[in-house]
Amino acid sequence: MSFIEFSEVTKEYKMGEAKQLAVDKINFSIGEGEFVVILGPSGAGKSTVLNLLGGMDFVTSGKIMINGKNITNYKDDELTDYRAANIGFVFQFYNLIPTLTALENVALTKEIVKGALNASEVLSSVGLGEHQNKFPTQLSGGEQQRVSIARAICKNPTMLLCDEPTGALDSETGVVILSLLQKLSREYHKTVIIVSHNAVLAEAADKVIRIKNGKITEIIINETPIDVSEVSW
């Protein structure tokens, strides 16, 4: 059995009286340490998949197995523990706490998990050693996103879930961020799952899952992924 296993997962949103099927009976699996890209146009259901995977939302039907455990039956508190122990999130809009410095934002993880890494070292490893004491508003978008990644890594999670991590960044900065994520997968053996609508990323991924209208249209396994930096933008 794979590290992550989605079987017949459906998610339905109720908007007043209208029902909207965000994800419709999807199946896929992801192995540990894989660098996966979920591709699709906006509104296809990519973010929903990520939210379900990250334990930030409940499924309507179907089953999600993570590392042999069924998280669909988890209660709110169990999900919180699951998130705290396993998942590192990277959001499109960084979502840093504006009133905490870069270092403090990263060090926040120490309060959640026991095995947190050294915040300062992690920040240095993403190249922000010099900006540790700046507040989010004093940093550029790329720098903020690196803080956000550092915060995700610091927990030492088994997987990193990234929702359009480069969506708010220019392409050069985007490459820096994506290279960082790829490095984490290759060198530290983290499972990295990126949601994006940018098809060029496909060449760099171990696995590409294409979603459209809540259904999986294609799963491509890439035997020879190239470095992000070599992708032609």
Binding site: S47, N51, G54, M56, D57, F58, D76, D77, T80, D81, R83, A84, A85, I87, F89, F91, F93, Y94, N95, L96, I97, P98, T99, L100, E104, A107, L108, T109, K110, E111, I112, V113, R151, K155, A168
Partner: protein, 757 residues
């Protein structure tokens, strides 16, 4: 780390946190300050009465023997009895002050409290003199003083200066503020009484196990076998009653205002806290996504409200009792004599702190829990805007005719109901307090003119001494074109209620007029008694009913039919014509002559001269205390309104920043946007004032019912007061609005319209 976040969040939302802090501080400050004033008075006087063993009942007669004392002491429920000789004397000063001398038997009941000098002892000769009187006259311990008792001179050395629990309030006649230069008292041992004068005990001081009720009163009467003339319980003793009434009225004022104030303060805290938490929605989402437990997030946000409101409430609770009571005590010291003026925090302050802090914490908890209820994925997205329903206004044709301004403001008011209601509540509080403050002054002034210009039109009242001969009275009346009146004290009984009141008997009087309950001049019937409006209310009687009454000092109860009800502000009781009085079997012996002539100096046969001028002066002094209350109320009202409006303004501004920047991008000028905000503010203020004025009048009438049984206050609010109140409230509202609407200029259009962050 979260603690640091909290501190920085507080710094970011300075205005809100400061206002929460201030609100908690002010609310509890006023509550505990005013509370510890009346509680302090109560505590001090209670302790004073216990320490000096104030009598529970006084009996006045002509000669109480040892046997009488023993008989009363044997009555079930009586703890102790002491005899005392009381007589009035004139001290040897130019203004001929009256000094009441008490020759006591063993100094166990109603003892005096030593201020300076040596302790009172039965074996010692000398006098222990009223300290306030000694002060006024510059007398010191060791000086000698001579008392003139009906021509007999008693000279004594002052052994000490004292205060007495029977003279906490010692104003005589019609004065409201006692004049300690004209009146004093002295304590002496019965052994100090001149040997060549006949000695007899005139008073019986009785200390009882429980409060004196009718049963006990009757038992005491019985024990004396008819040898009794007057029995006064504590509630009938002027000094005790007046001070208790004063405390009662302070308690009434002291409970309604601070509670009204605290309510508004807590409401403000609640809305602010709820808004703060809701504005942190995304951040709560982040913390949740990171894997923080619900409990920790809850705790984090709860501590926001908890620490701030706790700090404010604590400082308020400490500062209030240390400042406010003493402000009021200063004014009260001219009226009342107490050995010390202590402020005592009432226990309810603790409940109030717990209540304010608790409700603040609870609302934070509830709001936070509400945000946490959503899944983190929802929480991370900005909250979906509330569905805006078309209001009833939209459907009317009128709506289309409204300008954009009006439409936008109306929608905004109805969309953010909580905020609008809060603003209105704040304004109601402000305008109600202002109306109360001004109305109190107006009503008081109106009462003074009513009493001294419409009702009592004489300029001087000559109090006749007891020895004056009828021819002298006739001469005085002719000399000053005066009118003779009889004033006395009566006990009234009807419907099972017993009250003491005043008696006024007049004969074709032209210098005293009567007014009905609407303050219009009226005539009182010649052949029956008339009762004051307030007294009629207290006894639950109306015209045509019968009441029983007797003059103090005369056990003869009379039952009379009420012929009319009249209104008078400062003394309650009954009045009748001389003919009616004589028909009931009394003889008309005048106690005073009133005249339109101004008289100063000394007049033969007159014990005291009261001039209108002096009475009004004493009223004005009395009003100084009231003015102080008025100032405190006005300041409180202004602060309250300012904080509420500013706070709501800043919050709604932050919330509408996107909307405002959109309008700005479209091309609205800053000035226009400010007008937009101002218009809404003015509407809410207007609604608040309209509702606040009746609320203020209601509070005022509530307070007036607690002013004491002697006073009959009538609400009167002048046009100016309405204008001041309305203009003042608008001014505060507009000024504060200007403060936060300044920020419109500073809106950064680009960043406001960018991402969620």
């Amino acid at each position: 780390m979260l603690f640091r976040k909290m501190l920085r969040d507080m710094k970011m939302n300075k205005a809100q946190f400061i206002s929460i802090f201030l609100m908690a501080l002010l609310g509890v400050f006023v509550y505990s300050g005013v509370g510890s004033e009346w509680n302090g008075l109560q505590r001090t006087s209670d302790e004073y009465y216990v320490e000096t063993n104030l009598a529970d009942a006084w009996m006045y007669g002509s000669d109480y023997s040892e046997k009488d004392a023993v008989a009363v002491a044997d009555v079930d429920g009586v703890n102790g009895v002491e005899r005392r000789l009381t007589l009035d004397s004139i001290a040897d000063f130019d203004n001929k002050p009256t000094v009441t001398l008490h020759f006591v038997q063993n100094n166990q009941i109603s003892t005096c409290k030593l201020i300076e000098g040596e302790e009172f002892e039965i074996e010692k000769d000398g006098v222990w003199l009223d300290s306030m009187f000694a002060d006024k006259k510059g007398l010191n311990v060791g000086d000698t003083i001579t008392f003139n008792v009906n021509g007999y001179l008693i000279e004594k050395t002052i052994k000490g200066t004292v205060m007495s629990p029977e003279y906490v309030y010692s104003a005589v006649g019609e004065e409201v503020i006692p004049n300690h230069a004209n009146y004093g008292f002295g304590y002496l041992s019965y052994q100090a009484f001149p040997k060549d004068l006949p000695f007899f005990y005139t008073d019986l001081l009785i200390s009882t196990e429980r409060e004196v009720d009718n049963k006990l009163e009757n038992a005491i009467e019985e024990a004396l076998g008819g040898k009794y003339s007057v029995i006064l319980t504590r509630d009938n003793k002027i000094s005790y009653m007046q001070f208790e009434e004063e405390i009662k009225s302070h308690k009434a004022v002291g409970q309604i205002f601070p509670i009204a104030f605290l309510t508004v303060a807590i409401l403000t805290i609640l809305t602010t806290m709820a808004r703060l938490v809701n504005n942190q929605r995304t951040q709560i989402g982040i913390l949740k996504a990171l894997g923080f437990q619900r409990r920790r997030i809850l705790y984090h946000y709860i501590s926001y409200g908890l620490w701030i409101s706790m700090a404010g409430a604590m400082i308020g609770a400490i500062a209030g009792p240390l400042t406010l009571p003493f402000l009021f005590f200063e004014g009260m010291k001219t009226t009342y004599t107490l050995p010390e003026w202590k402020s005592a925090v009432p226990l309810s302050v603790i409940y109030m702190i717990i209540f304010s802090v608790g409700s603040c914490t609870l609302i934070t908890y509830l709001t936070c829990r509400n945000v946490l209820k959503d899944t983190p994925s929802q929480t991370l997205r900005p909250k979906a805007p509330k569905a805006i329903k078309h209001s009833v206004f939209d459907k009317t044709k009128l709506w289309c005719k409204f300008s954009f301004h009006t439409q936008w403001n109306l929608r905004d008011i109805f969309r953010c109901k909580g905020r609008s209601v809060m603003a209105i509540v704040g304004i109601i509080g402000c305008s109600a307090l202002l109306i109360c403050a001004f109305g109190m002054q107006d009503s008081m002034k109106k009462l003074i003119t009513l009493n001294y210009e419409k009702i009592n039109q004489y300029n001087t009242k000559l109090e006749l001494s007891q020895e004056i001969k009828p021819e002298q009275i006739q001469n005085l009346m002719e000399e000053y074109q005066g009118e003779a009146i009889l004033e006395g004290a009566v006990e009234l009984k009807a419907n099972g209620e017993r009250k003491s009141g005043g008696l006024l008997v007049t004969e074709d009087v032209k210098l005293i007029h009567f007014v009905d309950k609407n303050r219009n001049l009226m005539e009182i019937p010649k052949d029956s008694i008339s009762i004051t409006y307030k007294m009629a209310g207290l006894l639950k009687v109306k015209v045509g009913d019968e009441i029983s009454w007797h003059i103090y000092g005369d056990e003869n109860w009379v039952t009379s039919k009420i012929g009319a009800i009249y209104r008078t502000p400062f003394s309650q009781g009954i009045t009748m014509s001389k003919d009616c009085f004589e028909e009931l079997g009394f003889s008309f012996t005048p106690t005073a002559i009133i005249t339109g002539v101004n008289i100063t100096g000394e007049v033969e046969g007159i014990s005291q001269i009261e001039t209108k001028e002096k009475l009004m002066e004493s009223m004005e002094k009395f009003m100084e205390v009231m003015n102080l209350v008025v100032y405190v109320l006005v300041i409180a009202a202004i602060l309250l309104a300012a904080v509420v409006i500013y706070n709501l303004g800043v919050l709604s501004f932050t919330e509408r920043q996107r909307e405002l920047s959109t309008l700005k991008v479209i091309g609205f000028k800053t000035k226009k946007l400010r007008t937009l905000l101002l218009t809404q503010n003015i509407w809410l203020t207007a609604v608040g004032i309209l509702m606040g004025i009746p609320v203020g009048m209601w509070i005022l009438s509530y307070v007036f019912t607690f002013m004491g049984e002697v006073f009959d206050f009538m609400i009167f609010i002048s046009v100016y007061s309405y204008i001041y109140c309305i203009a003042g409230t608008f001014l505060i509202s507009i000024l504060v609005n200007r403060l936060f609407s300044k920020r419109v200029r500073g809106i950064d259009m680009v960043s406001a319209l960018k991402g969620v962050e």
